[in-house]
């Protein structure tokens, strides 16, 4: 796609004329330039998908990728989203630059979805909300803002484990990272006591990263009462909560339920930052629709914050890509489409929930002596199976099931057609 280069190759006279000179010059310069640039480590999850592609076994299963698949293992374009896209395209809109903060309509709808219909933030202009490049880009905007303006301890405490990209995002913005206990590998559940103990030891005025729902990679979420206690502990230490919500609606199928921790914290009087993604719940993965929000104490504070956020965005990429955000806001502002969409998200969430149940039932039926309760206790796209790296390797080698070494599987990759094979494999590898 590199225009100058592509057309350049069709100008041989230019090359031939100067190739000798160029060769001599290259000799001098080849060693001088890039010797200190190391080959970057390959993406772990991509590596899993690539190994899966190379495998020719018909029974192979890809449980690495964190994207929803239907019961045939195919990507699912939500019909409501497709309709919204067609509706939007039929308007023959121009492609003039979006405002730096993106589509105002999209930002308003995103905030309403997160904070609740009729929430006081949007009503009273107390939120500074901007379009971000899906969840990652929204996290990055917040990271840039915190790096520049956070008046406290510029360290982000992340749950252990967390999504592999959280660390790099914060570090790129110049923030330090640390962790708090989260996953209990003995129970394959939430280490509530460990989390609370660690929170109490976080220096006052630090930043804490919280997964609003469907924790990635474990699938382990705190219970509502636990969220309440965490909120109090975090408030008493004046720690700033930064929520990452990539699965609203997708986790329990209920948008309000999935956003509950955020609304709990707001009700408890926290000011928060929030990164939202529409990649999963609208299937808009490649269109990068997301939003970053700060809740503020006054309209004036929101305006000041907005002005600074826009400067940060300007220096990153000027203004955001509009296509995905327009589709999302069309869905959210067209009553029929919104209703249809909610139903389709329910469908996705329910398929995931039923696959969890089937996998668990199959393991029990196969006579596994291990406790597989966590498969249905955990929520969202991912499940931390509890398998160790050696067991994972065996699962891949002997059963052609592809997953990450930490034992994480994407439930979205399970279908009624492959769940038996998967259960057999897990059973054999965990005996």
């Amino acid at each position: 796609m590199a225009l100058p280069f592509k057309v350049y190759r069709s100008c041989p006279s230019l090359l031939q004329y100067s190739s000798k000179a160029a060769g001599a010059v290259l000799q001098q310069r080849t060693n001088a330039w890039w010797s200190q640039v190391e080959l970057g480590p390959p993406d772990v999850i991509l590596g899993v998908s690539e190994a899966f592609k190379r495998d020719t076994d018909p029974k192979k299963i890809n449980l690495g990728v964190g994207a929803y698949r239907d019961d045939n293992g195919k990507p699912y374009v939500l019909p409501s989203v497709r309709k919204a896209e067609e509706l939007m395209m039929s308007k023959n809109l121009d492609h003039e630059y979006a405002p730096i903060g993106g589509s105002a309509e999209f930002c308003k709808e995103a905030a309403n979805l997160a904070f609740g219909e009729g929430n006081e933030y949007v009503k009273n202009n107390l939120n500074a909300t901007v379009q971000g490049i899906s969840g990652t880009g929204s996290l990055r905007i917040g990271a840039a803002f915190l790096s520049k303006f956070f008046p406290g301890n510029k360290v982000v405490y992340m749950p252990s484990p967390t999504w592999g990209n959280h660390g790099p995002i914060f570090k790129h913005a110049g923030l330090d990272v640390a962790s708090y206990r989260y996953y209990d590998k003995n129970t394959c559940g939430f280490d509530f006591q460990g989390a609370m103990d660690d929170i109490k030891n976080i220096p006052d005025k630090s930043i804490i990263l919280l997964h609003a729902c469907a924790h990635n990679p474990t699938g382990v979420d705190p219970k509502p009462e636990q969220w309440k206690e965490m909120s109090q502990a975090i408030k008493s230490k004046n720690i700033f909560p930064y929520f990452d919500m990539a699965y609203q609606g997708f986790a329990s199928s209920d948008f309000d339920q999935d956003a509950m921790p955020i609304r709990q914290f707001l009700a408890d009087g926290h000011q928060i930052a929030l990164a939202q993604s529409f990649a999963k719940n609208m299937g808009l993965y490649g269109e990068r629709a997301g939003a970053f929000s700060l809740t503020c104490i006054s309209k004036e504070e929101a305006e000041r914050n907005m002005s600074q956020i826009k400067i940060l965005i300007r220096a990153l990429y000027s203004n955001p890509p509009i296509h995905g955000a327009k589709i999302a806001s069309t869905v959210l502002t067209t009553p029929d489409l919104k209703t249809q969409w909610i139903g389709e998200v329910k469908g996705m969430a329910n398929r995931i929930i039923s696959m969890r149940k089937q996998l668990q039932d199959n393991l029990v039926q196969l006579g596994s002596s291990r406790n597989w309760q966590h498969i249905t206790d955990q929520i969202g796209m991912f499940c931390f199976t509890g398998l160790n790296p050696q067991q994972c390797e065996k699962l891949t080698k002997d059963f052609h099931v592809y997953l990450t070494k930490d034992g994480r599987i994407s439930i979205a990759g399970i279908t009624t057609k492959n769940v038996n094979h998967l259960a057999q494999g897990i059973h054999e590898c965990s005996k």
């Binding site: 796609m1 640039v37 790099p168």
Partner: protein, 315 residues
């Protein structure tokens, strides 16, 4: 044909995002400390370098107000005065904001100095095709540098030449001497992408890709570019003709000598303020005019207004 160079690309968020990737890579992976920007340049270049905490943000002389053209000797002096291995941002064509581009001979000299100083080169290529109407003509400087063995970065934007402004379609083209170097550079750039936004938006890139790969659409697109560029060229000529016909003080050849969307007219701040207040004509304090804002229906009005401003306000 010798495959002397290796070129590859990483999709970027239009021109800005592609520039940002190159600037970030050079700072983080190559320890770049100093950067050189034309005086004046697109304001966002400087903002980006500042946000990336480059230690030494310099300007090289470019706009010569006395000739309303290029301060070529000043440019080379400033290049030579900068530290070796500085990052230099060069505008591939249609310089923003002045519209003043170096001649081919001047580009050759610039290339020699760039090589002498071992500068890291980032070409900002936001107007290919849009400047002269010809894709190859507008890429001349870039291709010349590559032919001379300069390893470089090109931040390509498809905002203007495809009119896909809000879809953020761009490409960071990397030209390296060996396949190994190219792979290493790309792998690091991809890590920067991953840590900033994971992966780029699909829609706009799909449109561009479809067009570039379909011979008929490609041909049609080239026609569209010519149309756009020709309209701008026509407006430049028409404005200059009117100003000269009105006997507006000063020389007006720069309006047609300059190229691309913008023109540094030479209007002073006071004259600009006058135009805004009295004629409701909006332009930058620097005297930069976007030629795209001119049309056959407003040319007379604008020319008369400029004439009035220049004769009334002599400071």
């Amino acid at each position: 044909m010798l495959a002397v160079f290796q070129a590859g690309g990483v999709q970027g968020l239009s021109g800005t995002g592609s520039l940002r990737l190159a600037m970030t890579f050079l700072k983080e992976q190559c320890g770049a400390k100093a950067c050189l920007n034309s005086k004046p340049t697109w304001g966002n270049h400087l903002l980006m370098f500042r946000h990336l905490h480059y230690e030494d943000i310099r300007e090289y002389r470019y706009w010569d107000p006395s000739t309303k053209g290029l301060d070529f000797s000043g440019m080379l002096v400033d290049f030579r005065a900068a530290p070796d291995k500085s990052v230099v941002v060069l505008h591939a064509c249609a310089h923003n904001p002045t519209g003043v581009d170096p001649s081919h001979e001047q580009w050759k000299d610039i290339c020699k100095v760039v090589q002498e100083k071992k500068f890291y080169v980032i070409f900002d290529c936001a107007y290919q095709g849009f400047a002269s109407g010809d894709l190859d003509k507008d890429a001349w400087a870039v291709r010349y540098f590559v032919s001379q063995g300069v390893e470089l970065f090109i931040a390509q934007s498809f905002a203007k030449n495809f009119g896909l402004y809000n879809e953020r379609v761009g490409n960071l083209c990397v030209v390296a001497a060996t396949p190994d170097a190219l792979e290493r550079i790309k792998s690091q750039v991809k890590l920067i992408v991953r840590g900033n936004y994971s992966n780029p938006p699909a829609h706009g890139a799909r449109v561009v890709n479809t067009t570039l790969r379909d011979p008929e659409l490609y041909s049609e697109w080239k026609g569209c570019i010519k149309t756009m560029a020709n309209r701008v060229l026509a407006m430049r000529k028409a404005l200059r003709d009117r100003l000269e016909a009105l006997g507006t003080p000063g020389k007006w050849n720069h309006i047609t000598d300059q190229i691309g969307m913008f023109s540094y007219t030479g209007l002073t701040q006071a004259q600009v303020a006058y135009l805004v207040e009295h004629y409701h004509i909006y332009l930058m304090k620097s005297g930069r005019v976007s030629m795209c804002g001119l049309s056959t229906s407003n040319l007379d009005y604008v020319a008369k207004a400029m004439h009035d401003a220049i004769t009334k306000i002599t400071t």
